[in-house]
């Protein structure tokens, strides 16, 4: 299984001998790391509830020249807000300029394809620097690293326009693997909102293996929203890793409704005093979907806080996994951490594995966690029905109500509205049109 990737890598590197040195070096280190590790199995603690075997055993091909048949109209339903958003669209792994809108960011802000990162002095050196460790899929991404987005914001600049990074796989990407690789660097005091969308426009099987590195300078704030709407047969492993300078704030939201087997890793290191990390998410599954969220909040410095709320709704025979680690180093006194995971099961065959993990090595901290797995409240359903609200609508109202408070935390109004609509439409019975309005 590993050999297939080593062979693909050898051919890819041979065909791309003109790549910049920093890229070639990173790729070599990545493939060596991957070769040494191989694919994980459920015997690995981090993969206990999610078997990566379907991904490891599938024979995906890699094509760095990925052709596209995606047109502007195909992308339209996935855009947020008005036309003013800066958008970078990759189809089958390759930047598609005609679907992208790269201007309008203003002075001090650079958005580039990662392959052109050297255009900003020293930016290429940051690639790979955020990753504390490269487990198998991250190493594999580094080994290929064909392209992605690089965002750089200089000191004290507030990026007023949200940035939307869109990664689409269409029918020409069937049975392919794509390796989106992004780098988001906010220098001291900078602020930005970045949305990453992963979208499947094909019924075929494919594999997205994405890595986003986030570097936040002192006092910087990043609102990062990941919207995973992969196709129903897709595999997805996506890793976001952040490192935070003092007084910075990393605000992350993971919205996951697509894919057959998906895994999202979000890791942040609160590396300076006074930092905050807010990690929220919502997953909604049905059929035989499997969706795994692994978060790790590493409190390195004192006086930092972290807040985490993940919610899920599972129908059919779907399987959800949440593993939230909060690691408090001995120096990280006065850490204030709170973590919650709540899941609603709509069917008796749906399954949720939730595992909060607190590892605390400092003695003066305040950390709590809690997890619940429950069903729709029968009395609440009856209450609504007894007022004339039909059964289907009552169920949707309760699902929406369950998800509403975590969606409410999304600061960007356009994204919030779009994801609220997705939530309303998620469990609509066949033949019924969702109503595109808010219940609140």
């Amino acid at each position: 299984m590993t050999q297939r990737y080593l062979d693909q890598h050898a051919r890819f590197v041979a065909a791309n001998s003109g790549a910049p040195d920093w890229v070639t070096r990173a790729r070599r280190a990545g493939i060596e790391r991957f070769a040494a590790l191989g694919f994980p199995t459920t015997k690995d603690e981090d993969w206990h509830f999610t078997s990566p075997a379907p991904i490891a055993e599938a024979e995906f091909t890699f094509d760095s020249n990925g052709a596209s048949r995606t047109a502007a109209a195909d992308v339209e339903p996935f855009r947020f807000g008005d036309a003013g958003w800066v958008t970078m669209v990759f189809v089958n792994g390759r930047l598609q300029q005609d679907l992208s809108m790269l201007s309008g960011l203003g002075p001090g802000v650079t958005l580039l394809p990662l392959s052109a990162a050297s255009a900003v002095p020293e930016l290429d050196k940051r690639v790979g620097s955020v990753l504390s460790d490269q487990p198998t899929f991250t190493a594999l991404n580094t080994a290929f690293m064909p392209d992605g987005a690089a965002l750089h914001v200089i000191r004290d600049v507030k990026v007023r326009v949200p940035v939307h990074l869109v990664f689409i796989v269409d029918s020409l990407g069937a049975d392919r693997v794509v390796y989106p690789r992004n780098l988001l660097v906010l220098e001291r005091g900078a602020q930005a909102t970045v949305v990453e969308s992963y979208i499947g426009l094909t019924d075929a099987r494919y594999f997205t293996n994405a890595v986003t590195e986030v570097s936040l300078g002192d006092g910087a704030t990043l609102n990062h929203i990941k919207v995973q709407r992969e196709s129903r047969r897709a595999y997805h492993v996506g890793t976001t890793e952040a490192i935070q300078g003092r007084d910075s704030h990393f605000v992350s939201f993971s919205f996951a409704i697509g894919g057959a087997l998906t895994r999202t890793n979000i890791h942040t290191k609160l590396d300076g005093p006074g930092c905050g990390a807010t990690l929220n998410g919502l997953y909604m599954l049905d059929g035989e979907q499997h969706c795994d969220h692994q978060t790790k909040i590493e409190h390195v410095a004192p006086n930092c806080f972290s807040r985490e709320v993940y919610k899920g709704v599972l129908d059919g025979k779907s399987h959800g996994v949440f593993n939230g680690k909060v690691y408090v180093h001995p120096e990280a006194q006065k850490t204030d951490g709170k973590q919650t995971n709540n899941t609603l099961l709509l069917s008796k065959d749906a399954q949720m594995d939730t595992k909060p993990q607190l590892e605390i090595f400092a003695d003066d901290v305040k950390c709590t966690h809690g997890a619940t797995v429950g069903k729709l409240d029968e009395m609440a359903l009856f209450y609504m029905k007894s007022r004339g609200v039909d059964a289907e609508m009552a169920k949707r109202l309760l699902i929406y109500a369950f998800a509403a408070d975590v969606l409410e935390t999304i600061a960007n109004a356009d994204v919030k509205l779009a994801l609220e609509r997705d939530t309303l439409a998620r469990f609509v019975a066949e033949g019924r049109e969702p109503r595109g309005e808010r219940f609140a």
């Binding site: 409240d377 009856f382 209450y383 007894s386 007022r387 004339g388 039909d390 309760l398 219940f439 609140a440």
Partner: protein
């Protein structure tokens, strides 16, 4: 309007209603009284269609139709309303949205047009006054953080907006102080009409000082053991339930 014949119902395999027969004509107010565990609330829940209760015998005809064959929402659309003893909290759904959805569903069922949020504001405004409720309550999540009195007022507000034909009040007086009780009772009295019937379930005679019934029925052990006029309630206030229920085995269950 409503004809209940030999109605038997159980919850969790335990028989609570053991043969209730009751007839309610349009415009009448019937009070159902009885000690704890007599089956009062069960009767209210069964009429509204709570799936937690299983009907094991008898029939209920409502406006000539088989009420028991109707889903709870269909009953509501046909004009049945239950004011809950313990109104349910629904975090994340605003009172205004909930009420408008219900109003529109019922209108649609009666062949009317849906109203938009602006039109609905006008409809609900006059009803708010009826129960002395502040419009700000509409923006809050359904019953979330409401006091006991606010929850009960909210139930009567819903009733006023939805304009049922058969309103069942399940211990609407429980947990209310005398002022709140008066407000709620005034609201109910203003809704009394020739074509609207009420079943008022209560443990205490107190409520019936304000909502004066045409008939009073005493439930014990899942059966009606005595029926009479409003003076029966005063007798119960004076003598308690013991003189009526001694001959009967209570059904148990705190409902």
């Amino acid at each position: 309007m409503l004809a209940i014949k030999d109605l038997k119902a159980s919850v969790g395999g335990k028989e609570i209603l053991r043969g209730i027969s009751l007839s309610v004509k349009a415009g009448e107010v019937h009070a159902i009284m009885g000690p704890n565990g007599s089956g009062k609330s069960t009767l209210a829940q069964v009429l509204a269609g709570n799936p937690a209760y299983e009907v094991i015998g008898g029939s209920v005809s409502y406006q000539g139709k088989d009420l028991l064959a109707m889903a709870p929402e269909v009953r509501a659309q046909a004009g049945v309303f239950l004011a809950f003893q313990y109104p349910i909290e629904i975090p994340g759904v605003s009172n205004a949205y909930f009420l408008r959805s219900a109003y529109n569903e019922i209108r649609k069922a009666r062949g009317g047009e849906e109203v938009d949020p602006m039109e609905f504001v006008d409809i609900v405004e006059s009803k708010l006054k009826l129960v002395d409720m502040d419009a700000a309550m509409l923006q809050r999540s359904v019953n979330m953080g409401f006091s006991g009195g606010e929850k009960k007022r909210n139930e009567i507000l819903q009733m006023a907006v939805l304009e049922p034909k058969l309103a069942i009040l399940d211990e609407t007086d429980s947990g209310l102080d005398i002022d709140a009780l008066r407000t709620v009772a005034d609201g109910v009295n203003k809704l009394r009409a020739k074509d609207r019937s009420f079943i008022v379930v209560t443990h205490y005679q107190r409520l019936l000082n304000y909502i004066v019934p045409d008939f009073v029925h005493v439930l014990s052990g899942g059966r009606i053991v005595k029926s009479g006029g409003k003076e029966l309630a005063l007798q119960l206030e004076e003598k308690g339930y013991d003189w009526l229920v001694d001959a009967h085995v209570p059904a148990g269950a705190g409902v």
